[in-house]
């Protein structure tokens, strides 16, 4: 069942954005600061109502879906992870079960195991390192067994090893049939790991294609205003820019 934006406009942030996403792959949303990436993600999560246009899950409007029903189908991981109370890692992961109204052991255990958190589940959340914390927060989303995982910059503030670990977890979810949509600032990660990239520029879709085309050197020059070129093998490319431009 597809997740779609149909002519979405949020005044000042998104202008007439349309896209249709299918499950079973990783879609990256890229763009310069202020391009509307997080706004689009929130609209696709049903957390923001558009001024015009609509976000649809299958044939249903997201904003008219019952809150719990929407929450069971779409897991959302925001950019900031401000943890108010120093509860245990397991308590945080169990929050993912809230839309189901249960704290079923099995999906919680599976999520904890999937992100290698078994050793931490009794630890207090605020004692974790950045990488452990990012895994815990993703485990919280996975515990809800959503069809869609929408994550806003889940890799920011992680070192490269943790970035790749987390991406591997997301890839496993996509291969398992979930739809994964992530906002990414790192264009090389998007180019190497996403199946599809949507580039936003000043609230509009500048490109929506496979990574090689959506993040071509021409698009990067036009949208980011940076002269840069890709080097390396496909799937392991790096972006190098000429600082004199």
């Amino acid at each position: 069942m597809s997740l779609r934006a149909e002519n979405l406009t949020v005044i000042g942030r998104l202008a007439n954005v349309s896209c249709s996403l299918e499950r079973g792959g990783i879609t990256a949303i890229c763009g310069p600061n202020g391009a509307g990436k997080s706004t689009l993600l929130m609209a696709l999560a049903g957390l923001l109502s558009a001024d015009t246009g609509r976000a649809m899950l299958g044939e249903e409007r997201l904003v008219s879906l019952h809150l719990k029903q929407r929450a069971r189908r779409i897991g959302y991981l925001p950019q900031s992870a401000d943890i108010a109370w120093d509860v245990t890692v397991r308590s945080i992961v169990e929050l993912g079960r809230m839309p189901h109204g249960d704290s079923a052991r099995e999906p919680v255990d599976t999520a904890i195991a999937a992100l290698d958190l078994e050793a931490f589940e009794g630890r207090r959340a605020l004692t974790l390192s950045g990488g452990e914390r990012a895994r815990m927060l993703l485990a919280r989303v996975l515990a809800g067994e959503p069809e869609w995982i929408l994550a806003d910059e889940p890799l920011a503030a992680l070192d490269i090893a943790h970035q790749l670990t987390l991406l591997a977890h997301l890839r496993r979810q996509a291969d398992g049939g979930s739809g994964v949509v992530i906002v990414l600032h790192d264009l090389a990660l998007a180019r190497n790991h996403a199946d599809r990239v949507i580039v936003l520029d000043e609230g509009r879709v500048a490109a929506d294609d496979i990574p090689q085309r959506a993040l071509s050197e021409e698009v990067i020059a036009k949208v980011w205003g940076v002269a840069a070129r890709w080097i390396g093998e496909p799937g392991a490319q790096a972006l190098v820019s000429d600082l004199s431009v």
């Binding site: 929130m42 999560a45 957390l47 923001l48 809150l67 719990k68 029903q69 929407r70 929450a71 069971r72 779409i74 897991g75 959302y76 925001p78 900031s80 992870a81 401000d82 943890i83 108010a84 109370w85 120093d86 509860v87 245990t88 308590s91 945080i92 929050l95 993912g96 809230m98 839309p99 207090r124 927060l137 919280r140 809800g144």
Partner: protein
């Protein structure tokens, strides 16, 4: 039942009978003349009222800290206690205290007014985008300041010195000379209020990761706000109506309870109600036992006790951060 609830429940079982016997005159049920009468008509309603008021304040404090995601939050932030106080002060100002039901009734009307004002603001505030809770808290503070200013105005315009001293004394909450009438007023309202807060518990847990995550988990922020207004309004409003302003309980109690739980707001509510009941019961027993000419007001005693304790907590928290 969680460990914290068990501990505070057991302490209450011990403290309650002791509080019945404690006072200027210690009661020995076997030898004190009219012991049964004193217990049934004076000591028992006062102790029961202490339990009710304390339980309401404790649960409201835990819920407010969970809702605002802030360990320094207090039920007073919503402006409901000052609203109730304004109502009560109005009754005293007009000399309507001959009937024991009138002052609590006025206080409840004041609390209801504050709740209605909050509800009107809540009904208009946009649901979410992270600013909902902050805006609402500011609105609560404004309601509190307005009610406080009006109360101060009424004190300064008091018709006579007697009314003025009655108002000032009443504002420093106490449980002196309370009867079953006050219990009948406060018990059902507080009970309903605590139930509303317990219903809100799961949604408060969802707020651990912020308002956006809570919404993504299917929590309706507006429904949660209504539960909070209703729950805090009823518990605090009923408490002020029968006992006046009793500060610090709602602020301190969750801090006593939190280390005994896993920290989730939902796990704090019932133990905080029990711990609040215990704190007010013990504090009220202590003010009765102290060898002073006039009984020290419960509200003052709790502030005297609470402020240094809270300072200690702050210092400890700062060490934790360092």
């Amino acid at each position: 039942m969680n460990r914290a609830a068990l501990i505070f429940g057991l302490l209450l079982v011990v403290a309650f009978p002791l509080s019945l016997l404690a006072g200027k005159v210690w009661i020995d049920p076997a030898s004190t003349p009219n012991a049964a009468l004193i217990l049934a008509e004076i000591r028992l309603p006062r102790s029961v009222l202490a339990l009710i008021v304390g339980a309401g304040l404790g649960a409201a404090g835990a819920a407010m800290q969970g809702y605002l995601r802030n360990p320094l939050a207090d039920p007073g932030l919503f402006g409901i206690a000052p609203g109730a106080a304004l109502g009560a002060v109005t009754a005293i100002w007009f000399g309507l205290t001959a009937n024991a039901f009138v002052l609590p009734l006025f206080a409840l009307v004041g609390a209801g007014g504050a709740m209605a004002l909050l509800a009107a603001i809540a009904g208009r505030s946009a649901s979410g985008l992270g600013r909902g809770i902050a805006l609402f808290t500011l609105a609560g503070l404004m309601v509190a300041s307005l009610a406080g200013a009006l109360t101060a105005l009424m004190i300064s315009l008091a018709p006579n010195a007697f009314a003025m001293s009655t108002i000032v004394l009443w504002l420093n909450g106490a449980l002196t000379d309370r009867s079953w009438q006050e219990v009948i007023i406060a018990a059902p309202l507080t009970l309903v209020g605590i139930v509303l807060l317990i219903v809100a518990g799961k949604a408060l847990d969802a707020l651990i990761l912020g308002e956006e995550v809570a919404r993504s988990l299917g929590i309706d922020p507006r429904a949660l706000l209504w539960l909070l207004i209703g729950g805090v309004g009823l518990t605090v409003g009923a408490g002020v109506a029968v006992a006046g302003i009793i500060g610090f309980v709602g602020l301190i109690v969750p801090h006593l309870v939190r280390p005994l739980t896993d920290g989730r707001p939902s796990q704090l509510l019932v133990p905080s109600a029990l711990a609040g009941a215990l704190l007010v019961l013990v504090a009220d027993s202590v003010v009765r036992v102290l060898p002073l000419v006039t009984e020290i007001r419960l509200g003052i005693a709790l502030s005297l006790l609470g402020a240094p304790f809270f300072l200690y907590l702050l210092v400890r928290m700062r060490r934790g951060w360092a």
